[in-house]
């Protein structure tokens, strides 16, 4: 079993997101430890990008703060190296195509394999363009995660059949950010996904409460939460880790109900 599959092996998975370096990498490290301690099954680590076009204002803010504190791709690899000495929870990177391209795909994915990154999510790399990085990802045993959106009609089966690691199902139209209600007919999308692949599928975008997480995990194999955690970081800065831990604990209980 690969490491990503193990995250989904004990019931529904809770997948928290954090932007590395917001407000600094020491805080990120402490938050990740808290996430693990409180039951995170897989952790999504954002590498900041200057112009995150798939993000709403909350995560845009995290990207700005992280870059302002001098966070770079190289420093994030160092941070993951240190964390891997104590943490075995699966971890995936979320960033934008240019961050990988500028670092050099070969160099980036070699480093991912060395430090123990299990997957890569690139929101601006759709199915049509995945060959840009897929061969290098495979060579280094890093799963290139596929996204499916509410507007993916006619494409779901094709994407699902070739998906690796897990499928990231985008709950709603628009950018990341918390939503009071998720209205997309996700169960019919899930049905097509299930018919075409056996890999797990987690739902993200707009989830901020244990009730929403429970509902989304009920429809799929897990819930991904980003903006709600970033709001804690924006409010508490370097004091965030304990609040992040409490939040993860509460959300994890939600998905396991």
């Amino acid at each position: 079993m690969n490491k990503i599959a193990s995250a989904f092996a004990n019931g529904k998975a809770f997948i928290p997101f954090i932007t590395c370096g917001d407000p600094d990498l020491e805080t990120t490290k402490a938050c990740i430890r808290e996430m693990v301690r409180n039951g995170a099954d897989l952790i999504e680590l954002g590498i900041p990008f200057s112009d995150p076009t798939a993000e709403g204002p909350v995560i845009q803010g995290a990207n700005i703060r992280a870059l302002a504190s001098g966070t770079t791709t190289s420093k994030i690899f160092e941070m993951v190296t240190e964390l891997r000495r104590e943490i075995s929870t699966p971890m995936v990177f979320m960033t934008y195509a240019n961050v990988v391209f500028a670092y050099g795909a070969e160099r980036f994915l070699t480093a991912c394999e060395q430090v123990g990154i299990d997957g890569l999510i690139l929101p601006d790399l759709p199915y049509e363009e995945k060959d840009e990085f897929l061969p290098v990802c495979r060579e280094h045993h890093v799963a290139l995660i596929s996204l499916i959106a509410p507007t993916s009609a006619g494409r779901i089966a094709t994407i699902a059949r070739e998906a690796e690691g897990f499928i990231y199902l985008v709950s709603s139209l628009g950018v990341t950010g918390t939503r009071s209600e998720i209205t997309t007919d996700l169960s019919s999308i899930m049905k097509v996904i299930r018919e075409n692949t056996s890999i797990p599928c987690a739902i993200g975008f707009g989830i901020s409460t244990p009730e929403q997480a429970a509902k989304m995990a009920g429809l799929s194999d897990g819930a991904i939460v980003g903006s709600a955690i970033i709001k804690i970081l924006a409010q508490y800065g370097s004091e965030s880790p304990k609040y992040v831990g409490e939040f993860v604990k509460k959300m994890k209980m939600g998905v396991r109900c």
């Binding site: 798939a54 870059l67 791709t73 240019n98 996204l147 507007t151 006619g154 950018v175």
Partner: protein, 396 residues
Amino acid sequence: MTNTKGRFGIYGGQYIPETLMNAVIELEAAYEYYKNDPEFQTELSTLFNEYAGRPSRLYYAEKMTKDLNGAKIYLKREDLNHTGAHKINNVLGQALLAKKMGKTRLIAETGAGQHGVATATAAALMGMQCVVFMGEEDTKRQALNVYRMRLLGAEVIPVKTGTATLKDAVSEAMREWTSRIDDTHYCLGSVMGPHPFPTIVRDFQAVISREIKEQMLQKEGRLPDVVLACVGGGSNAIGSFYHFIDDAQVRLIGCEAAGRGVDTFETAATVNTGRVGIFHGMKSYFCQDDFGQIAPVYSISAGLDYPGIGPEHAWLNDIGRAEYVPVTDEEAVCAFEYLAKTEGIIPAIESAHAVAHALKIAPELSKDQLMVITISGRGDKDCAAIARYRGEDLHE
């Protein structure tokens, strides 16, 4: 190496969120159908001729020619189009296409405001809703155009993120499009973004070089020796170059905004200072740091103040078919003033970048050589900013 749709060499592609993929696929299919539809083409020609005032003049700049004592200079007067710039060519095409597709709402980004004004104009004409995203910094530099857009019935949303300029307006328009696709067409203003935009925008702007070719053959009986145009994203430049790409004897020169100079960080000269990257839906050249963070570019010209360039230009550069030269703020302002005093034509500060390079190279060319400079827009919108640059505060 990837070889997907919409490639110019290695450049182009469709690097966008999954949420938008069906929208660009639908757009491509509609465009492929309507571009060969005689009725669509007739409607578009009528709009070009009767509404936008095409064909635009190819004007012999006699005083400028005598003054520079070199190449014989013609100006392609896109500034005389309705709304005062070449932007209307693309917008009429896209708005008509969007209408055929059943869309009722246009969204757009704008830098100098010319594309925003053109989109607001087409929306008013065709009875569509219009929302324009504009960097807050640019809303200040181009206050007159903000007023024009609102007058035309558009909603103008100042974008405060990042550098609050054109790239942030593009990002925000893309974000808006992901949240509302059904009734909305993203009327992208330049030959950039994901496929099929670089091709669609080029095809609608190619009317510029088609006319230059006809007009030059009529006036001089031969093709020009050199064609100059300013380049931000590159829509008026590709429009000016397109029908000459296969005529190898025609030199094609794109003039980039160097801001305070290519050896400073305050520049927007993408080909001259950028590297290959992936951003805003395309692979092309971008101003960026070692880690791929997009650089906060600068130019006096809000329309050229963009850290990327259209993928077809990146390719034309790599294969050596077109040259891309940097022009500083100071050179552009001098050319702005020069054309006003010499020919009685106030060019847009964007277009003044092309005039500035012409001032450098025309004297070195022989008198039997023919030069065309595309004046992509009129400069009324820039007067207050140029006055400020010269230390004078205008109260409009």
